[in-house]
């Protein structure tokens, strides 16, 4: 039934995707640069490059650069912007994968109770003053991470206990039930320690203030590891979006793939929540926008979600610290305020690609 002379436009669409990727990368670099430069202290691009160069090569700072500028940019702004970027990327990656695995373009890793679990962990540390010796500074992120992961593992265990094939509805429902339960415990605790709840509130709305290179380095390593694993799973993720039965009949080990993907995604979310607090919306919006632009194939969705999520987060953090400067807005509030209307617009605007 092939008609004569049908042009094979595979090369054309590849070229279009290539241009899209290149433009996105350029925009992302621009945003990162903006996030580093914008603020009350001005720096020229050449000075910024000199600072970066001197730290990478280990050579002393050129005489024409003010050491004060160096310390502001190298120890405050750059790690902050990069941490924001990596957290946004990791959240968006895990959102993209959760959506494929749960076969629902509007799901997110928060569905499984990662954030409520993490909040409870942080809450216990903040409210009860519980601490381990040697880890004082890291208690909050550590507890957030551990509790977030425990909640997810618990949802999966419960789900597989109830339903041997671990179906989507079971996972989502159990995640919701656990989330509500955990939030209940949290609210219960807060009635006893009302005086410290402001600190907890700050953490629950997210912030990147005072993040350093250690944070960025840990996030970089976990982010890259998650990215590589997901990229390897991309074919299986594509197939999983067609549902459990079809995926299984096409040769995918559904249970194994699903559990691996959920655990890695929760790990990424857990680490992000641990270092930045609870920041919603990016994991939902960024992958959605990426699918609109590049289509649903995970080979493109995975890398682009990282880039878009990262850039979006860097931009939101920039807004958080500059719009009402010197006052800082919680970045979780910014992502929701900026993101929700934008997402609504994208979602309801008539487009060719529906998802």
């Amino acid at each position: 039934m092939k008609e004569q002379g049908i042009p094979d436009n595979r090369n054309n669409s590849r070229k279009a995707a290539g241009i899209g990727i290149a433009l996105s990368l350029a925009a992302c670099l621009f945003i990162l640069l903006l996030a580093i430069r914008a603020g009350s202290v001005y720096i020229s691009v050449s000075d910024l490059l000199k600072i970066i160069g001197s730290h990478i090569t280990g050579k002393p700072l050129p005489a024409d650069v003010d050491p004060m500028t160096d310390s502001i940019f190298w120890t405050i702004r750059m790690p902050r912007a990069i941490t924001a970027f990596l957290v946004g990327g990791a959240l968006s990656l895990s959102g993209a994968v959760m959506q494929a695995v749960l076969q629902n373009p509007l799901a997110s890793s928060y569905t499984l109770g990662v954030s409520s679990g993490a909040s409870l962990g942080a809450g216990i540390v903040l409210l009860c003053g519980f601490t381990l010796s040697g880890l004082e500074g890291f208690m909050l992120p550590l507890a957030g991470f551990v509790f977030g992961l425990i909640t997810v593992v618990l949802s999966i265990l419960l789900a597989s206990r109830i339903d041997r094939s671990v179906s989507n509805q079971t996972i989502v429902l159990i995640g919701m039930v656990l989330s509500l339960f955990v939030t209940g415990i949290m609210n219960f605790m807060m009635t006893f320690y009302g005086d410290r709840s402001k600190q907890l509130w700050l953490w629950m709305t997210g912030s990147f203030s005072a993040r350093n290179w250690t944070h960025a380095a840990i996030l970089f390593v976990t982010g890259i590891a998650g990215f590589v694993i997901f990229f390897m799973l991309s074919g299986r993720l594509d197939i999983l979006t067609f549902g459990e039965l079809q995926a299984s009949s096409m040769g995918v080990d559904v249970k194994k793939t699903r559990i691996t993907a959920i655990l890695v995604a929760s790990f990424l979310t857990g680490v992000s929540v641990a270092f930045a607090g609870v920041i919603g919306f990016i994991d939902l919006a960024a992958p959605h926008i990426v699918r609109r632009i590049f289509g649903p194939s995970h080979r493109i969705v995975i890398p682009m979600s990282f880039i878009y999520g990262g850039a979006f987060m860097a931009l939101c953090d920039l807004a958080a610290r500059t719009v009402l400067s010197p006052r800082e807005i919680p970045v979780g509030a910014v992502t929701a305020l900026v993101g929700a209307p934008f997402f609504a617009y994208v979602f309801f605007a008539k487009g060719r690609r529906k998802v």
Binding site: S13, S165, T241, F242, L245, S248, S249, M250, R353
Partner: protein, 259 residues
């Protein structure tokens, strides 16, 4: 090669759908599975493809399906599902190419040129090559069904299980489907066990379509097999009345189509 079901029972939750079924299907056969709505046809197909848990044993060539790797099962058995809702908007071409997944290898599992060519051939055979850049959400029910059929062919398996493949097709495509399936069933497919004769197991509601493709008929009723044998012997007025609880032959006779 033989697909063998021994004492198989299956169901969803607490409800039983199939009760102690014994069935053997050898390569080269063309089997029609018939029965009323809810008689367990789809469940039987899923059990035979190893997609849902069941009691009893399902083996292919002596290997227990539930213990085999899914990837290896998918090289022997392909199941064309009934079309459901598509939440993610892949293009037709991407969708059909995914049928080749079980044949990809390597850490990143990319598709080869042979995979692409094979997928394109399947699209041409199902008449969807012209639609290859369309999104799944933009297709009509019949187009979507042909895309799923193409994806099922793309798995390149000797056993083809079809769940109402013609239900949304117009009359021309139904005729083409019958022709193509008949031609395909004459051939063989290379597998890790050597060349295996092509085998069709299909659920149809159109008895004419069933008769024209399938030489063997299995009728299901009350969770068990009511009749199993050559289509010419099983598809009789008496047997159909028994299976469908009404006078099927009389109904067909009363239908005025072209005169």
């Amino acid at each position: 090669m033989e697909l063998l079901l021994k004492n198989v029972s299956a169901g969803y939750g607490s409800g039983k759908v199939l009760d102690s079924i014994d069935l053997s299907i050898k390569d080269g056969e063309r089997v029609f599975i018939g029965g009323r709505n809810g008689s367990g046809k789809t469940t039987l197909l899923r059990v035979m493809a190893g997609l849902i848990n069941c009691e009893g044993s399902v083996t292919i060539n002596g290997n227990d399906l539930s213990k085999m790797k899914r990837r290896n099962v998918a090289k022997l058995i392909a199941l064309m599902p009934q079309a459901g809702e598509m939440y993610f908007q892949y293009t037709v071409y991407q969708t059909v190419l995914l049928g080749r997944y079980a044949r990809t290898d390597g850490l990143f599992g990319g598709f080869t040129n042979r995979d692409r060519e094979y997928a394109e051939e399947c699209m041409e055979n199902c008449g969807v090559y012209e639609l290859k850049d369309r999104l799944l959400g933009e297709l009509s029910g019949g187009q979507l069904q042909r895309v799923l059929l193409a994806r099922t062919y793309a798995q390149e398996t000797p056993f083809l299980f079809l769940d109402e493949p013609g239900s949304s097709l117009d009359i021309k495509y139904r005729a083409e489907l019958c022709d193509y399936l008949g031609k395909w069933a004459e051939g063989k497919t290379a597998t890790p066990y050597g060349d295996v004769r092509n085998t069709i197991v299909a659920v149809f509601h159109d008895l004419g379509q069933a008769r024209s493709i399938c030489s063997r008929t299995v009728l299901l009723k009350n969770m068990t097999i009511l009749a199993d044998g050559p289509s010419s012997e099983v598809i009789t007025p008496e047997m159909l009345e028994e299976a469908f609880d009404f006078d099927v032959a009389g109904y067909i006779e009363r239908q005025v189509i072209v005169r």
